[in-house]
Each structure stands twice: as structure tokens, then as C-alpha cells.
Amino acid sequence: MTWTDDQPMVSIRDVYKSFGDLEVLKGVSLDVMKGEVICIIGPSGSGKSTLIRCVNALNDIQKGSILVEGLEVNSPDLNKLELRKKVGMVFQQYNLFPHKTAIENVMMAPIRVLKQDRVKAEAAARVLIKKVRLEGKEDAYPGELSGGQQQRVAIARSLAMTPDVMLFDEVTAALDPETVGEVLQTIKDLAEDGITCILVTHEMGFAREVADHIYFTDGGVIVEHGPPKSFFNKAKDPRTKEFLSQIL
């Protein structure tokens, strides 16, 4: 079956995941269309991070199906490289390679994994560094950058692999309040460029502003979802209401 872009880019169907005896995901389904930005929100331990890590095959699942552009992630013969070329991921703790400069962090994967020409990869990396507004920081080591700057390098590093979907796992949770804005602005730029994004976030204002669709998870299931306007104003489920009343 070939995938066409009128089908969901990411299609999650009835996914179950447990760590030992602990059931984390109990039948989650959602679809993300090309160019869509979706936000997954919910209390800690509700399985939202686990869910997007499963999309990237960093966690395996026990049951269900995850299709990324028609590629079945829950399959023993999954070509992980093919998946990772389609899916980019940004982590809460940035996870930059501390022994490499910002630009090296960005250009390393295209050179080593995609076997791109070095000169070409470096030129592309410079464009990406500029895109995340870090011109002049190309040769800085991660330890010399602020949290917000490191996170933007991490976004550029992920974009260098030209993924079709970007996953953001609470990317502002470890940041100082004053640098959260710059990272959110970068993500907003991406969303405006039409890059498909799946975000796990606690930034409700941001979710309301950029998301096309919001999913609320609790206890390993999606409790409620909808476009931001109706989700934030007309939540029906008592658990959603309680969560929103605590956080807003």
C-alpha cells in the first residue's frame, strides 16, 4: 500500500503499551494529517511522552498499529533508518552532543547517516542555524549556550535530516521562563512553514495559539480532543475540566 498525502501522515490505532506491570497506554488512537500541528496535553504520568516516543520507535508497543506515511512502526522488520528519516524528535533535555560545536551537531547526521557531501551539509546547517535565529553561534559548544539556545540547536539538528514529522517532547519544560518564548517562537515558525508537528506540552497558551487539534490524555487513554477553541472553552469531560481549571 502506498501512502498518499490525503491519508493521515501519522495514524495511531488502538495502541497498548506497558512497562512491566504498569500499563501506560490503554488503547490510544489518533490521526495527524500533513501540515497539521497537534498538541497532546495531560497530567504527568498520563502516557503522553510515551505515546510520541512510540511513534519514533524509541519505545516498542505491545498491541496496535502506528503508521508513519504508511510505514508500520509496530513490525519486527521495521527499517528503523527509513522511519528516522521521516520522523525528527526534540527532547526535554536537548541531548546535544557536548563535544561537538553547534554547527557540527547539526551537520553530523546528514554527513554520517545520509552520506551527504560535507560542504553541502555544512551550507545546509548554516541555513538551519540561521532559521532558528542563532547566527554567530555556529562554533559555540553546547556548554557555552543557554538552555533555550541549546534547544534551538537541537531543533535545527533534527530539521537537518529533513523529516516529514517533528515530535516535540516537553521541549520547554527544562527551560528558564525567559527562554521558553524563543523556543516556542521557533516551533511556531516551523508550524507556519507547514511542517507536521506533534507536541507534548504544558504550555496551554501556546497550544491554544498554534495547535490545529488538541488531545487530552489521562490514565493512558485520550479523554477528549478537539480544535483549541472548543477544547478550551467547551470541555465536556469532568477530568478535562478539572485539569484545565488547575492549569489555566
Binding site: L81, N95, F97, P98, R112, G143, S158, M161
Partner: protein, 282 residues
């Protein structure tokens, strides 16, 4: 207004005073030098007082044997450097084996590491002496396999096991996020290890590795027990040649101690310096 940093009575609010890391400093404190000097003078002085007038003085005897003993010491250094090289190469291999995804390889590596790490160095040395052949044939030629080389290999076994643990420990000390980030960028496990993980580990492995080298250097005197002509063996022979004079024992062995101290102390200081440097930079 004064430019002093903000100070408060509440300790938690005050700026943290980090111990500032300055350049590598080899100097002993005056009292430390004094203790060493006093020890040398005392042993020599006591010996001097015991000397018969018919015999040559302690200082003359020491002076006479110093060149030979120093040569012996250089032999110790050669053994230590060789054993360290062999042990490091083999140890890195076993260390990588210990973090392999192959269960069998991981278990074997773990066992080899634990076995040699928890064996007395002297016993390993004896094993190497008696189990290794006195010559090996390479392409039909009999290549002699001298005792000192056997001893070197014997000493490299515990080094190997310790290096293996250092490698495993360093790899495991890195945040797991480094692996995940590399994985999600499409790196293979091998690429992740060689491009991302190991380069970061080198820095972390340096202090324990140098520490191990200093310990190995001091352990090279064990080779005297199996008859290698290193400094301890030569000191014993020199003392015998002087007629077994008891007044020479302390000065001669003090000289041996001094040589080891002069060689190992800077390594220890350098190790401390590196530890401080890396602790601050992270």
C-alpha cells in the same frame, strides 16, 4: 556603591565559592619537602653512624650503585608503559564487549573482567611466568620470549580488567539521552558508540586510567620476585655485592622509594588536576 557580590546571612543565598582551578601545579608544600628530606637524612645519618671506619661510607656506596639502580628503574618504567599499552588495548576491547548487545559476548566479557579484576596481581604474574612458553615460533622462526616480557604480560592482565571496568563505567555514566538522540537521528549503534559516546568517555576515563598507571608502575617491583632484573632485584644484588652491610639497607631502599615517588607523584597531581578541570566543565 560597592561592587562586592551580594552577601547574606543566609548561607543558601550567598554565591557559591567554587575552588578555582588554576594551572597544573607540581610544587610540594614546604613541610612536605621537609618530611622527605628529613627521612632521607635520618636514614642516611643513622647508617653513617653505624659505619665502620674500614668500610667505604654509605654515600660512596650509594653513589657507586646509583647508575645501575637508575638503569633498573628505567626498566621498570619500560615494563609499566608496555603493560599499560597492552592492558589498555585489551581492556578497551573487553569493556566494549561488556556493553555489547550480544548477550553471550557481554557475559564472557563480564566474566573475564571480574575474574582478572578480583585476582591478586602477584598470582597473575606467577601464572604468566609459568604458563607462557619461553619461546614462540613465528613463521617457523623461534622467537625468544624472555622473562621480562612474560612479567609484562602478567602485569597487563589486571590492568586489562581494570581498564575494561573503566570503559564500562564511563559509557554507563553518560546520560541515556545521548543514545536516544543519536538513535532518533538515524545513527547505527556502532556510529553512536564511536562518534557520540566514546569521544565523550575519553575525558571521563583519563583520571582513573592515569591512577591505574601509577598503581601499575609501583606494582612493577613484583617482577623482582620472578627474577626480572628490575630495580628491586638490582638493589638486592648491589647490597649483596657490598657484603650484606645492614647499614646500607635503609639508604638504598630509600633511594628506590625516592625514584618511584619522583615518577609517580607528578602523575597523581596531574590526575587531581584533570579531575578538577573536568568536574567544573562537566
Amino acid at each position: 556603591m560597592s561592587q562586592r557580590p551580594y552577601q547574606s546571612d543566609l548561607a543558601v543565598l550567598n554565591p557559591i565559592k567554587r575552588s578555582s582551578v588554576t594551572g597544573f601545579d607540581l610544587r610540594l608544600k614546604p613541610w612536605q619537602g621537609g618530611v622527605i628530606l628529613a627521612a632521607c637524612l635520618l636514614t642516611s645519618g643513622v647508617s653513617f653512624a653505624q659505619t665502620d671506619s674500614t668500610e667505604i661510607s654509605v654515600f660512596e656506596a650509594l653513589l657507586r650503585w646509583m647508575p645501575l639502580l637508575s638503569k633498573g628503574f628505567i626498566f621498570n618504567i619500560v615494563i609499566s608503559i608496555l603493560a599499560m599499552s597492552i592492558g589498555t588495548v585489551a581492556g578497551v576491547a573487553w569493556g566494549l564487549g561488556q556493553i555489547s548487545t550480544n548477550v553471550l559476548l557481554r557475559k564472557i566479557s563480564w566474566f573475564v573482567t571480574q575474574f582478572f579484576r578480583n585476582s591478586p596481581w602477584l598470582v597473575l604474574l606467577f601464572f604468566a611466568m609459568f604458563l607462557l612458553p619461553f619461546e614462540i615460533s613465528v613463521l617457523g622462526f623461534a622467537v625468544p620470549f624472555p622473562d621480562w616480557l612474560k612479567a609484562t604480560i602478567g602485569l597487563s592482565l589486571p590492568v586489562m580488567a581494570n581498564v575494561s571496568e573503566v570503559v564500562r563505567g564511563a559509557v554507563n555514566s553518560l546520560p541515556h539521552g545521548q543514545w536516544e538522540a543519536a538513535e532518533s537521528l538515524g545513527y547505527t549503534r556502532r556510529q553512536t558508540l564511536w562518534l557520540v559516546i566514546l569521544p565523550q568517555c575519553v575525558k571521563r576515563m583519563m583520571p582513573p586510567w592515569m591512577n591505574l598507571y601509577a598503581i601499575l608502575t609501583m606494582a612493577t617491583v613484583l617482577a623482582s620476585i620472578v627474577g626480572v632484573s628490575e630495580i628491586m632485584t638490582l638493589t638486592g644484588r648491589a647490597l649483596a655485592a657490598e657484603g650484606g652491610r645492614t647499614d646500607l639497607l635503609a639508604p638504598f631502599y630509600s633511594f628506590v622509594l625516592l625514584l618511584f615517588f619522583i615518577y609517580c607523584y607528578p602523575i597523581a597531581r596531574w590526575t587531581v588536576h584533570l579531575e578538577q578541570k573536568f568536574a567544573v566543565k562537566g
